[in-house]
Symmetry: none
Subunit: 238 residues, 2 copies
DNA sequence: TCCCTTTTTTTAGGAATCCTTAATAAAAAA
DNA sequence: TTTTTTATTAAGGATTCCTAAAAAAAGGGA
């Protein structure tokens, strides 16, 4: 079975997580600060890490950066509700997912399962060719539209495009899944990490802004297309 | 259908909740304190729990902690007005959601549905073999008719077909069950997720539209056939 | 901290597209 | 032929999407 490293200075939370996840058949290894986490990571074979952001000694973001120097295992960040700055910082430094406290046990379980599945699926899928798919593709591309997720630069026809954070995230999500059609709800839930609740126009507005920036003729989009009654997609162009 | 355990010492509230939720097709099991709740939980297969925080004998938080020792089903906490301390305490001890009293029936129903959708529908689907059973086959096919449910593309003889959302859903339903014959009522109920109520022509109209798009000769359909007096089917062709 | 700028969300109106209804025609069964 | 069932057609009414602009929130610099 899989070993999960749980890192949080709040012992109650660590214990609670242990209860939830061990019921699902995972084996839990605990750490209470960043330093300890790095030690445990060396000593054990870990398949996934749950990492709190606010911690003494070495906080979650620093710890994550250390981890990422030589590991690509999935990391789920834990952050207190309102510190969404941390969310972004965490995600930009290599987290695979995040969960806000207080969190629902089932949500945590779902995310753990999903991240493990993705990780395991990918690592089995590509023994043959040299490229490691665990390292997510950093440059996303369709037609003449390019997005470099490391530098956060977006280009169309070789020209720089300046997107806002939200616009970037929406485009990134659709570009990572180019060709596939997603409903407004799905887009919202994937980009905001929250349940969508009547947030339909928000997407429409951002879509329009993105189109204004990446499309030659926003009224007849080449990349960001609507599938009437179903959702949106980014066209997959060779 | 789903069984919901409702726990509150106020019988009126329990009865009110029963009325709301049974109208939505849920089966309600009642308990009036924490001890009773734990008993009912042992005796029945419960899919979701609605749990009041303030109760005699054993309060909601204690009860929740007991539950969490060996169950991971979704729990929605009920808390009086503004005691948001309880909310947080409840969530940190493993609640998945909470609703404050007084609550609107619609809000409660929405949260129940959302929690069941997120955590119950999917959880049992992929235990046995590697493949997720909920993940239906992505590409549906019969003869030269192909449907890709990820890209929402439909092709006949290699040519793109543009269907509307409803047409797509009808064809998808019949294609997922190719060869089988469904009555107009069954098609309506499966595609609209509502009781069919004399809405017979609707299907006929859509069927005609689909035929116009996918059939060479709509009057003598090759794929979408009528079984006179019984219903429609999509022919299963190798 | 406050102010200014930028970004995000909300609101509202209009436009495009699709769904449903209803009426009639055609086909199959009785 | 009569009855029942399905097919066809066309027009409102309803959805869904687009657009603009203003309000609200977030970010940045003094």
């Amino acid at each position: 079975m899989y070993n999960i490293l749980v890192v949080d200075d709040d012992k109650e939370i660590v214990n609670a997580i242990e209860i939830y996840l061990s019921q699902e058949g995972y084996h839990i290894i605990k750490a209470y600060d960043g330093e300890e986490a790095l030690e445990k990571l060396k000593e054990n074979e870990i398949h996934l890490i749950i990492l709190d952001i606010m911690m003494p000694n070495k906080d979650g973001i620093e710890t994550l950066q250390e981890i990422r120097k030589d590991k690509t295992i999935p990391v789920i960040m834990l952050s207190a509700k309102s510190e969404d700055y941390d969310k972004i910082a965490g995600l930009n430094t290599g987290a695979d997912d995040y969960v806000t406290k207080p969190f629902s046990p089932l949500e945590l379980i779902a995310r753990v399962k999903s991240n493990i599945r993705r990780y395991v699926d990918f690592s089995h899928a590509n023994d043959t060719n040299g490229k490691n798919k665990n390292q997510k593709e950093k440059v996303l591309k369709t037609g003449t539209l390019e997005m470099n997720d490391e530098t956060k630069k977006v280009m169309v026809d070789g020209k720089d495009i300046k997107l806002t954070a939200t616009e970037y995230n929406i485009l990134k999500f659709l570009l990572e899944n180019k060709g596939k059609v997603y409903s407004i709800e799905q887009i919202y839930e994937n980009v905001w990490n929250e349940e969508s609740y009547g947030a339909e126009n928000i997407i429409a507005v951002h879509i329009r802004h993105i189109r204004e920036k990446i499309e030659i003729n926003p009224k007849d989009p080449k990349y960001l297309k609507v599938i009437w009654g179903i959702g949106y997609k980014v066209e997959d162009i060779q």
